[in-house]
Symmetry: C2
Subunit: 134 residues, 2 copies
Amino acid sequence: MAGSLSSLDACEVRMIDPDRVESVRSSMPIDDDINVLSDVFGLLSDQGRLRLLISLLESGELCVCDLAAATGQNESSVSHALRLLRAHRVVQVRRSGRMSYYRLADSHVRLLLDLGLEHIGHAVTVRMHDGRRS
Amino acid sequence: MAGSLSSLDACEVRMIDPDRVESVRSSMPIDDDINVLSDVFGLLSDQGRLRLLISLLESGELCVCDLAAATGQNESSVSHALRLLRAHRVVQVRRSGRMSYYRLADSHVRLLLDLGLEHIGHAVTVRMHDGRRS
DNA sequence: TGAACGTATGAACATACGTACAGATATGGA
DNA sequence: TCCATATCTGTACGTATGTTCATACGTTCA
C-alpha cells in the first residue's frame, strides 16, 4: 500500500520543476481510483486468468470444464481464478443445473483485452454473441 | 509458470462442447505472446508504477526526483520501478548531466493507460509533447 | 580535488500471490 | 437413497514481488 498522495505536504522532497510537478499532482486520480485501476490490470496480469478471459472473449460463454480444457488448466485452478474475476465483476455466471456458464461482464475489460491482443498482433476472430464485431 | 497449451494432448480433460473448445484453443495466442501480454498488464498492476506512467502520460517528460515528488514515493522506489519499466521498453531515458529524464516509449501502453483512465472516469488532460491529443 | 547532489544498484526482508491437494456442496439420474 | 458429476472452497506451500536501507556511481561546482 503506497503513501497517500493527498496527505503529502511536499516537504522533504526535492523538486526540479515544482510547477510541472504540481500540475501532474493536480491531475492525478485519487487513491481509490488508482487502486481500482491497478487491480483491474492485476487481474489481467496472470497467464491463467488471461487465457480464461481471452477464451470468453472469443467464445462468449463457456462452462468451467470447457474453460479448463480450452486453457490447459485443471478445474480447481480455473474455479479459483473465476472466483477472483467474479468478485471483481469482470465475469458473470449463469447456473444451469450443475453447470456454471461464465461470460465477460465488463466492457472496459473487453476493450483492454482487445487492445492487448492487438498489441501482440493477434487478430480477434469473429464473434457476435452478445456484443460487438461482425 | 503455467503448463504449455501447445503440448497438451486433451486427454484427462472432460469437455462438454469439444467443438467450441477446439475453436477457442485454435484461436488462442501462443505461449510467448500470452506471456508478453500478461507481463505488460503486470507492469500496470502496481500503484506506484501506475502513478509514474500516468505522470509521464500527463507531463511528457520528467526527471526522477520530480517523478518522486509527483507520485509521493521516495526516489529509490521510483528508480527501481523505472528500471523495471525501462527493461520492458515501456519508458525511455534521456540523460542530461546528472539528471535522468524519463518518458513513455510504448504507444500500446499509452493506449492502455488512456483506456484505463477512461475506465475510472478520469479525463486525460491536454497534452501535446510528442504525441497525440490536442 | 573534494564535497554535494541526482540517480542507480544490491541485498534483505516481509508479504502477496498462484498452485496443488483434499474435501465439501449441490445437482441429476439409476 | 446412493452414486457420479460439476463446481466450489479451505488450507498449505513455494515463489515472486515491492519496499527499505545502505552504498556505489557519475556529474557539477567550489
